[in-house]
Amino acid sequence: MPAVAIDGVWKYYGDYPALRDISFEIDAGSCVALLGRNGAGKTTLLKIMGGLSRAAKGRLSVLDGDTRTRAVRRRIGLLGHGIGVYEELSARENLEFFARLQGLPRPKDTAAEWLERTGLAVSRDTLVREFSRGMRQRLAVGRAFLHDPDLLLLDEPFTALDDRAIALLQKLLSGARARGATIVMSTHQLREALELATNVVLINRGRLAYCGPRTVEMLADPGWLYRNYGEA
C-alpha cells in the first residue's frame, strides 16, 4: 500500500499551470528527495500532499485517505518554508499549543519532552521573539515532529539551519525512518538529500521528469540526474 498516491494532478495559479499531470506513488517507509529547480512546483506539490492546497484536477490519496480528513492530518508532520511558531508565545506554550491541536493526551508532558530533545529546556519560558535563529529552527523541528507523524513533508528542511539544528534534524529523520515513517523532502542540497533518500522525484516546470529509486550514479555524481532528466 503506497503512503502517497498521486494520479493526474494539475494545479493552476491563475492561468499558469504550476503542476501538469503529475502521477507517481511513494511507498510507505521510503525517503523521497523531491528535486527540481526554483519554480518547478516542488512546494506546490508538498502543499497539496499536506492538505494546504487543493489540486485543480486529478486524484490524491495520502496514508490511504483524503489529506483533509482529521485522521490523516493527525499522521502528517509538515515543516514548510516558515518556522510556524508564534513569536509572542514561549517555547513551552508553542509546543503545548500544537500538542493540543494534535489531540495528544498529555500536551504538557509532550512539550516538556520535546523541549529536552531540541535542547531548549533551559529556555522553555522565554518568548520566541527573544530566540536566536538557530533556537527558532530547533523549535520548529520539534513542532513538526512532536506527534510522531507517519508521513513527514519537509520543504527545504536543511536550508539556513545552523549545525546544531542540522544535527538534530538528521537524528530525528533517522529515528523516523527507523520506526517506518515515510519522508518526502524537497531540497536544493543534492548531495545531502541523495545520501538520505531511497527514491528520487524530479520535477521540471511542473512536469514529472523522473520518479524512481536513487541509483549509484546519482550518489557518485549529484549532477547526473539533472544532466540526464533535467531541462535542456
Partner: protein
C-alpha cells in the same frame, strides 16, 4: 464537544498573545475613545436629537474599533507562516474559524464594556436603565460584527490592502444586524419599554447571527484551503 474544545485552544492562544502584546486592544480602545470624545465636541449632550441618535453613534464606534481587532485576527498568523501550521494540523476549518471568532468576540465585548460608561459620561446618557436587555443586544451585535469580520478577515488576509478592504467588505454585509442593534439600543438607552414591533429587531439580530455563524462554519474549509 471536541470541536468546541479545539476552537477554545485556538481562542486561548489568540487571547494569550493579545494580552501579552496588547497591540490590538490598545489601538481599538484608543480609537473608540477618541471618536467618542470628538463627537462629544460636535454634538450638544443636552439636546434631544443626540439622545435619539445614541444607538447609531455607539454602534458606529464599535464598528470602527471592531474593524481594527478583526483586521489583526488572521494577520497575526502571517509571521513565520503560522497559518500554514494551523491549516496542516488536525483542526477543521470550522474549528479554526470558531476559535478565531471566540477570541475576537471577547476582545470586542471588552471594548464595548469599557466604552459604554465613557459614552454615558460624555453624552450625559443614563444607559443603565435596562442593563440586562442592553447587554443582550450588545452581545448579539458584537457576535454579528465578529462573525462577518472574521470571515472576511480570513478572505483578505493575503491582500496587500487588507486594512482598507476589510471595512469596505464587512459594513455592507452588516446593514441588517446594524439596523437592528441601533434600533434596540436607542429604545433601551432611552428607557422606553420594548414594544411588540421592537422584538422583530431582536429576531433579525438573532437570525442574522445564527445564519452567518452556520454559513461561516460551512465555508471555512474552502476559504482556508485554496
Amino acid at each position: 464537544m471536541r470541536s468546541l474544545r479545539a476552537a477554545w485552544v485556538v481562542a486561548g492562544k489568540d487571547l494569550r498573545s493579545e494580552l501579552r502584546t496588547k497591540e490590538t486592544l490598545n489601538a481599538s480602545l484608543s480609537f473608540a475613545l477618541v471618536i467618542l470624545l470628538l463627537f462629544s465636541f460636535i454634538l450638544d449632550p443636552d439636546s434631544q436629537t443626540v439622545r435619539a441618535m445614541t444607538g447609531g453613534l455607539l454602534w458606529l464606534v464599535f464598528m470602527f474599533a471592531g474593524a481594527l481587532i478583526l483586521n489583526r485576527s488572521f494577520a497575526r498568523e502571517l509571521p513565520n507562516d503560522c497559518l500554514e501550521a494551523l491549516i496542516a494540523s488536525p483542526l477543521s476549518g470550522a474549528e479554526l474559524f470558531l476559535g478565531k471568532c471566540a477570541a475576537n468576540f471577547v476582545l470586542l465585548v471588552l471594548v464595548e464594556v469599557i466604552c459604554l460608561p465613557v459614552f454615558g459620561i460624555f453624552y450625559n446618557v443614563r444607559w443603565m436603565r435596562q442593563p440586562g436587555l442592553l447587554f443582550v443586544v450588545l452581545l448579539l451585535g458584537a457576535w454579528a460584527l465578529t462573525i462577518i469580520g472574521t470571515m472576511f478577515s480570513a478572505l483578505t488576509v493575503n491582500l496587500r490592502l487588507r486594512e482598507l478592504m476589510l471595512p469596505t467588505l464587512i459594513y455592507p454585509f452588516l446593514v441588517p444586524a446594524l439596523m437592528a442593534a441601533i434600533q434596540l439600543t436607542n429604545v433601551l438607552i432611552g428607557g422606553d419599554t420594548l414594544e411588540k414591533d421592537d422584538y422583530i429587531w431582536f429576531r433579525v439580530l438573532a437570525g442574522f447571527d445564527l445564519i452567518f455563524t452556520l454559513l461561516g462554519m460551512a465555508l471555512a474549509e474552502s476559504v482556508f484551503v485554496g
